[in-house]
Symmetry: D2
Subunit: 274 residues, 4 copies
Amino acid sequence: MIIVIQCADRIGLVAAISRLMADKGLNINGMQEFVDNDEDLFFMRLDVDQTDGAAEIEKDLRQILPEGAIVKVNPVPEKKIVVLVTKEYHCLADILVRNYFKTLGATVQCVIGNHTTLQDICSRFDVPFYQVQAGADKEAFEEKLVGTVNQYEFDYLVLAKFMRILSPDFVLRFPMRIINIHHSFLPAFAGASPYRQAHERGVKLIGATAHYVTNELDEGPIIAQQIIPANHSHTVQDMVKAGKEIETAVLAKALKLVFDDRVFVYKNKTVVLE
Amino acid sequence: MIIVIQCADRIGLVAAISRLMADKGLNINGMQEFVDNDEDLFFMRLDVDQTDGAAEIEKDLRQILPEGAIVKVNPVPEKKIVVLVTKEYHCLADILVRNYFKTLGATVQCVIGNHTTLQDICSRFDVPFYQVQAGADKEAFEEKLVGTVNQYEFDYLVLAKFMRILSPDFVLRFPMRIINIHHSFLPAFAGASPYRQAHERGVKLIGATAHYVTNELDEGPIIAQQIIPANHSHTVQDMVKAGKEIETAVLAKALKLVFDDRVFVYKNKTVVLE
Amino acid sequence: MIIVIQCADRIGLVAAISRLMADKGLNINGMQEFVDNDEDLFFMRLDVDQTDGAAEIEKDLRQILPEGAIVKVNPVPEKKIVVLVTKEYHCLADILVRNYFKTLGATVQCVIGNHTTLQDICSRFDVPFYQVQAGADKEAFEEKLVGTVNQYEFDYLVLAKFMRILSPDFVLRFPMRIINIHHSFLPAFAGASPYRQAHERGVKLIGATAHYVTNELDEGPIIAQQIIPANHSHTVQDMVKAGKEIETAVLAKALKLVFDDRVFVYKNKTVVLE
Amino acid sequence: MIIVIQCADRIGLVAAISRLMADKGLNINGMQEFVDNDEDLFFMRLDVDQTDGAAEIEKDLRQILPEGAIVKVNPVPEKKIVVLVTKEYHCLADILVRNYFKTLGATVQCVIGNHTTLQDICSRFDVPFYQVQAGADKEAFEEKLVGTVNQYEFDYLVLAKFMRILSPDFVLRFPMRIINIHHSFLPAFAGASPYRQAHERGVKLIGATAHYVTNELDEGPIIAQQIIPANHSHTVQDMVKAGKEIETAVLAKALKLVFDDRVFVYKNKTVVLE
């Protein structure tokens, strides 16, 4: 059973929480906590040997925690996701493979593409695929998108190289539930064609960033980032190719962290309790 | 004030310890703990806002901890070290610079070399240097070594590229107090000429390992390791040169961890609470 | 057109080769060369704008190169491979996905498993799967293996987590044509259960190594290696899980290098001209 | 003897150059070349067994190279540098140590600080130190700076954590001769307080960039970059501390590349022939 807590900090919180666990005879397999002293915020993730009684544990926890605490006991152990794609396969295929072998920590409900390029790979894995074409009318496009995703229950929308910018209206419907992979080490090279920008600037490393989507383009809370070395001999196409490998790796890592309930969001930042 | 605890594990330990801190009105700035479930061992490092009353805190802690617990409250905040060298300057110079600028977390008492190559750099930093020549008679050499180091109070002996193997007798005098930097990613390429071995084996990465010295050559508990890429174009000399950079970095990192009381040793392994 | 050359070194080789290319009006897009001065060996990889006349170019090259030169002009551009597996899916799935999307640089002819665990994923990608059960009689097992692989034309046998040791007899049939992924940073932790060994030794990094298979277990020429940090909190299972990610990445990278004709073998080492 | 060439590209350049070397009986120990196909530019670095006849080799090379070629035969083997600092010691101390042990590839002529904090470390290494105070009058400050540096012959001005922005006038006096270390992975977090910016943005990696100084703040050609992982638990101060280690490493690496004549500049980018 996983327990996550986010609340105002005060002296004795760890003692009180771990005392409660001990009183209930719960063995703690793992406990990570973090205090942001600037913001006086307390974050904790507990992994305890227990499978039932979630409601009671949550009630008891609330009694010892400050007003306004966010407490989740036994959050959905198997997340549900909808994946949005365009034409590039690398992130999607990685997700489909892990989904198929039950190592994703989530179930892919369906995949939506604005092209049909990736329809076949989905059907090979028996995952429903829907085409929603992106035309000139963005509002109509997003309406269809919302209609399609809402046919499914899901915890997160994963933008696995979905090369369209979503409107604030769309984003607001799913706050902190949309996860994107951007192909640069943000905040460098936000926006379009980051590898072209990187090539022009002559950087000696290229990267990828997985982040929650907010209204500000490529400005949402960062979950995971990684880089690889680059040099003058890399063309833009070489960077694109090399970048795909880390985009895949970074998105996989970020999803794993999110699905394991290790990521806490506040102030446009994340606390990742590993 | 730093508090380190190593003891048998049992349910409620964290609760009891953090309760004690709360009762004493001590604010916990940082707390890292680890439980080795295979060995039922508990490790904790606390950083609390307090400067006095160490003896009483230790007494109170012992009352709530299992028999045989190792408890250190306010361990020596500024370690003292003696550095042993041969001819290579890179690790020693790094230590001397940090020592001079008071960022080492320890004070260098003296440097002992079996050659005089590094005497001048020591004198430039006003650090005493002693030559102890290594002749055919190892016993006599080590006796002189012991005699020299024992003129000083010290917590650790740091072998900063000291290219001699110390006898079990010598090592036993300073258990878990001798720290060595070995120029390979152990356990690969233990013993002599690791870069030559690496070159012959055609590895694609080379590394360095900082570890406590035990009787088994290059087999003591590992504190820190790091690697850098290598390839066919590197000669042994290129590897030696590139290796010096990571040897310096890895030893610096390991020393920082040890001097900050973040390293716990058991079963020929370390727990590093960062 | 790719041209690879491996021969004894002598002054003027680069001049002679590039003069020949210039005389033929061939534009050189990329040229990498390496000289092993200890062994007096010369290695070169050329990428030229040309699609035909391979035989003539090879003939002309041989006239200016030392006796005994290995020259390949326009080597098989699309390699054929047979993949051997046991139960773990990660490396195989990565290969199947790249194969399906035509980015592997090779075509998977078939997959052979000593278990049927991975049969379904192969059939989803329309790749033939054969079970060859490994019983007590190793000779019989390998005979069946040889019989099965020989139904296909192939350039390389890829051991994608094939957890059986092949006999010298088997290996000798396919010299420098068998590529293995070993789950440690060789030469550390050769043989069985490398993660268990790594856990016991308390290393601070774990790795993976792709190498050609020779008669010496885990001692063949290394093609690619990579590591990730590890620490005391990692159980063996954690290491296994984290390790799968780099095993996949390292094997993918090694295969790409081999399929691009960038890997030269000599003296149990590789030269990788990137 | 090192030979560097930068010129317009044309077919047969490598052949012509290596033929010339062969004709002169010069043995090539190392040759790296790069062609920027977009710009039709050719770059080459040769390392040949020869110590004299530089002028003649240069003349002969010019005859076979396109008009306007930049050719340097036997460029200054031991560069001379002037180092500018403020208060932080880490980069300067690293340079002084390498200078003292003759592994810098350059000689430090003098150090100039706008504070006296680092005077003592310089005097310990017998390196002249000058204070040039930065007051309200920037023009006067830079005039004094120019006056001081011009007392010495030097190839490069190294800004080793010199926390002042130099005016275009100053920069123009020393085009592509001023090297700076910036404490972020540019182009992210240019300008002041990059670690504070990084902390606020919640990035998962921090970095350092060594670059030539041009009129655009932190926009000059990048020579070397590196990053280290960061996370939510790092305060700005932690980032500053961790950052110093890579700032030191990145500047050291960049200087080595520049002093070895491996860095070519064009179009606000560098080609680094390693």
